[in-house]
């Protein structure tokens, strides 16, 4: 039964370059001698450490607790001692540091007490969600949104369609491909658990049709389930949530709303596998599959790495050729960011590392003038006018950029890819968004300052008025008292005069 598929506007077909890494099975690497775990590897409030320096922890033990509703926990990837809880460089485009728990493994890899569950249907939905939260599970496709919150949509939004995203549309990345091929059972069972929680009418697993082996493996694993495996045509960015929803259902997520508002929920395949591990086996999220690729790696492929593994260690294990590398990218070639300093750890949403020479990823050509050809608008999946956004960003007319729906830009990079004048368009949009946010923040602060100032004026005026009133009252009482005493004196004084005579 083939499902009718729709198409989204635009999209591009960059060269996939997945052959570098898709022909080898998933490999593991030894345990490094340091694990660096940032407390913030997800959207929402950072986790709060519940261990101290010099504590001994077991594999899988909770070392940081979630705080507030939108948060997840953090678990020790292996047994060892807490070396410190300190600032360390974290993988972020800014290159800044953040608070991390640093563990020194003892290489005994001893698990803590696990609570597996043979039949998840015996647990209550709250119990399942709590396990997911404390297992530290976040969206593994890159967004890092706490999965527990996503699986708990507001009562008003009943989920009719559960979409599992196995598209992996970005060039170079093959992590999900290998996961679906080698661990299809885990993925399918994880989806079943999520499906049981949400009770959707239909459950769709979308895979781009450049992954025939994965489709075959998933189809046989899902044979006796209600999950439909749906091959979709190869186009970048089909794996973007909004675009995937359009492809599978023809519906669009309204601006300012989330997919749950139209009865749809999306999860990544790796998230589903992590849910399986957490509920069925009781194992929290402590490792993930990362694609290591690029021509400066001797043994490219997919590696199952412990979270917190320092990247230099991982690169060495895969035969890193430092003399050839020109660019180290965390992420895919369309949306990944460059690492200036490789001394950062693998985190929950590190799905790919590209170590490329200048040959493989040449320097960007010199940008030329915009000739207004309109190719950017033809490929934009959000149906924006990138050309106009570019001109507004250049002339710093941020209001007009916002009116042209700048914040609907998903920063996929299709416009920059297609531009014949090699203009780095996405850079301009990021700059504009940053400026607008800064302006709004400044305005909010100055509004607040103005309010406080006005209140201060009012308060001071009120105080002066009260003081004045009190002073008047005092003056009156004083005047009255004086009058009384004068009267008394007058009555007494004549008496004394007559006495003296």
């Amino acid at each position: 039964m083939t499902r009718h598929l729709f198409d989204f506007h635009g999209g591009i077909h960059p060269s996939e370059r997945k052959d570098i890494s898709r022909y080898k099975p998933i490999r593991t690497i030894p345990i490094p001698d340091r694990l660096i775990l940032p407390l913030q590897q997800h959207k929402g409030h950072p986790a709060v450490p519940c261990v101290k320096k010099r504590d001994y922890v077991l594999k899988g033990q909770l070392i940081a607790e979630p705080k507030d509703m939108v948060s997840v926990g953090l678990n020790a990837p292996t047994s060892g001692t807490i070396l410190s809880i300190d600032n360390h460089l974290v993988p972020h485009p800014s290159g800044l540091s953040d608070l991390c728990i640093i563990i020194e493994p003892d290489h005994r890899d001893k698990w803590c007490q696990l609570t597996p569950c043979d039949n998840y249907q015996e647990l209550s939905p709250e119990e399942i969600r709590s396990r997911i939260r404390y297992a530290g599970i976040v969206g593994m496709g890159g967004a890092g949104f706490p999965t527990e919150i996503k699986l708990h949509p507001p009562k008003a939004s009943k989920v009719n369609t559960l979409i599992i995203n196995g598209a992996e549309c970005e060039p170079y990345i093959t992590a999900d491909d290998l996961l679906m091929r080698e661990r299809a059972e885990e993925v399918i069972q994880g989806i079943e658990m999520m499906s049981w929680l949400l009770q959707p009418t239909e459950c769709l697993l979308a895979v781009e049709n450049n992954k025939p082996e994965a489709i075959k493996a998933l189809s046989s694993a899902a044979k006796y389930t209600r999950i439909e495996i749906i091959p979709i045509p190869v186009k970048y960015p089909s794996g973007s949530e909004k675009q995937l929803i359009k492809i599978l259902t023809g519906k669009e997520v309204p601006v300012g709303k989330i997919p749950a508002n139209i009865g749809i929920l999306c999860q990544n395949v790796a998230t589903a596998a992590a849910v399986y591990h957490a509920i069925r086996l009781g194992m929290p999220l402590i490792s993930r599959i990362t694609t290591l690729t690029g021509d400066a790696i001797e043994q490219p492929g997919n590696y199952d790495v412990l979270l917190g593994t320092p990247i230099p260690f991982l690169l060495e294990s895969a035969g890193y050729q430092a003399q050839h590398v020109d660019r180290l990218i965390m992420g895919g070639s369309m949306t990944g960011f460059t690492l200036h300093n490789a001394n950062v750890p693998i985190v929950k949403n590190t799905h790919c590392l590209i170590a490329a020479s200048r040959n493989e990823l040449p320097l960007p050509p010199q940008p030329q003038a915009c000739i207004r050809c309109g190719m950017c608008a033809e490929v934009c999946p959000s149906e924006l006018l990138p050309q106009q956004l570019y001109w507004f960003a250049r002339s710093q007319e941020f209001e007009k950029a916002e009116q042209h729906h700048l914040f609907d830009c998903i920063e996929c990079g299709a416009c920059s890819w297609v531009c014949p004048s090699a203009i780095p368009l996405v850079q301009y949009y990021r700059f504009s968004k940053g400026q607008i946010r800064q302006q709004k923040e400044n305005k909010r602060k100055s509004d607040q300052a103005r309010q406080r100032f006005e209140f201060r004026q009012y308060r001071q005026a009120r105080n002066t008025l009260e003081k004045e009133q009190r002073r008047k009252a005092r003056a009156e009482t004083a005047a009255q008292a004086k009058q009384q005493s004068i009267r008394k004196k007058n009555i007494e004084a004549p008496k004394s005069k007559t006495e003296n005579k």
């Binding site: 590398v325 020109d326 200036h340 924006l384 780095p424």
Partner: protein
């Protein structure tokens, strides 16, 4: 290890501005070949002259602006302007007309606005309009006689010498008015049948001109296939021109018929090479349709009720004024947004 810090995306497609410009120049070849076959070497000589003048003026101005001329010349946009002017100007026009038109186009209509991408007016058409208005005699008496009509078509050296101001011995007329010009001026006093007896109209539509226009149409279709531009502008242009020609010009005794409007004069050159200039046309697809339709309408109006027989240049320049305005009102719908029904919705969403 010194690692580069760059922003995404990290790979690029194969599109290049210079490739687009070269493809457009290539696509003019069928039309240029037709022009040379039917009207002699004048167009080719003027085209080469215009390209040289364009490159030189751009290099000089870029130097004055403190920019390095070589990378900018390499995007072939100046060369393209030169080619378009060479094709649009009458084939035997003197060298100084070409010089003035091309240098004005590059210096004033392009570089003084900031160079490639910053000009609001189509440079080639600005240059053409300037010389049409300033040197009306030179621009109307230098259209070559098509081959097969006159007694003698100029050879290469004769054409060269005429263009560069040297006297040639041939006394017989080697220039005549264009078909559109002839029809326009005679339609008020003659019937269609009488006018069409003029040998310039030949057995089909207009000797030579029909093939030139078909050549440019072929080039335009090639560019559409290569996705250099979308179909919206040429479609709007041709449809509106055809529609008006049929509505008003159905009676060939009163107005120029549709066949002449479409296949005589600079119509096809305008449709596929001038109106589609991306820098000066509208941005969104709907805007391009309106822009193209506007040009077609203005061409018809000026040709029929104005004083110029071939009005492509003025129509394009007038619509260039309107392009930004069209853009404001033809913003496409963005993903997730409902279509704004009216300005009220826009005011509410502000």
């Amino acid at each position: 290890m010194a690692l580069l810090t760059l922003t995404s995306p990290h790979t690029y497609g194969n599109n290049q501005t210079r490739t687009i410009m070269l493809t457009v120049i290539l696509a003019t070849l069928p039309g240029l070949v037709a022009q040379t076959l039917f009207f002699g070497w004048g167009n080719l000589i003027n085209t080469i002259l215009a390209v040289i003048v364009a490159l030189l003026s751009e290099a000089i101005i870029l130097k004055l602006r403190g920019r390095n001329p070589i990378p900018n010349l390499k995007d072939y946009s100046a060369a393209l302007t030169g080619v378009l002017l060479g094709l649009a100007l009458p084939s035997l026009v003197p060298w100084w007309v070409t010089l003035v038109a091309t240098s004005f186009a590059i210096i004033f209509a392009k570089q003084l606005y900031g160079g490639l991408g910053f000009n609001p007016f189509n440079p080639a058409m600005a240059g053409y309009a300037l010389v049409l208005v300033s040197f009306p005699l030179a621009m109307t008496t230098n259209w070559a006689v098509p081959m097969g009509i006159g007694t003698h078509t100029l050879s290469f050296s004769e054409a060269f010498r005429h263009i560069f101001g040297f006297h040639i011995t041939q006394v017989d007329g080697f220039t005549m008015a264009t078909p559109l010009d002839v029809y326009k001026h005679q339609v008020s006093t003659h019937t269609a049948q009488e006018i069409l007896k003029n040998p310039i109209f030949g057995s089909w539509i207009a000797v030579g001109w029909e093939w030139v226009n078909l050549g440019f149409l072929l080039g335009g279709l090639f560019l559409l296939y290569k996705k250099v531009f979308t179909w919206h502008t040429p479609f709007g242009y041709l449809i509106s021109l055809s529609f008006l020609s049929l509505m008003f010009g159905a009676n060939a005794d009163l107005h120029t018929p549709i066949s002449l409007n479409l296949l005589a004069g600079g119509t096809m050159l305008g449709a596929f090479f001038i109106a589609t200039d991306p820098v000066t046309s509208a941005t969104s697809n709907k805007g391009k349709l309106i822009y193209g339709a506007g040009i077609g309408t203005l061409i018809y109006i000026i040709r029929t009720w104005g004083s110029y027989p071939d009005a492509v240049a003025f129509a394009v320049l007038l619509m260039n004024f309107a392009a930004s305005f069209i853009d404001i009102y033809t913003q496409p719908r963005t993903y997730g947004h409902i279509k704004p029904k009216s300005r009220q919705h826009k005011a509410e969403s502000k």
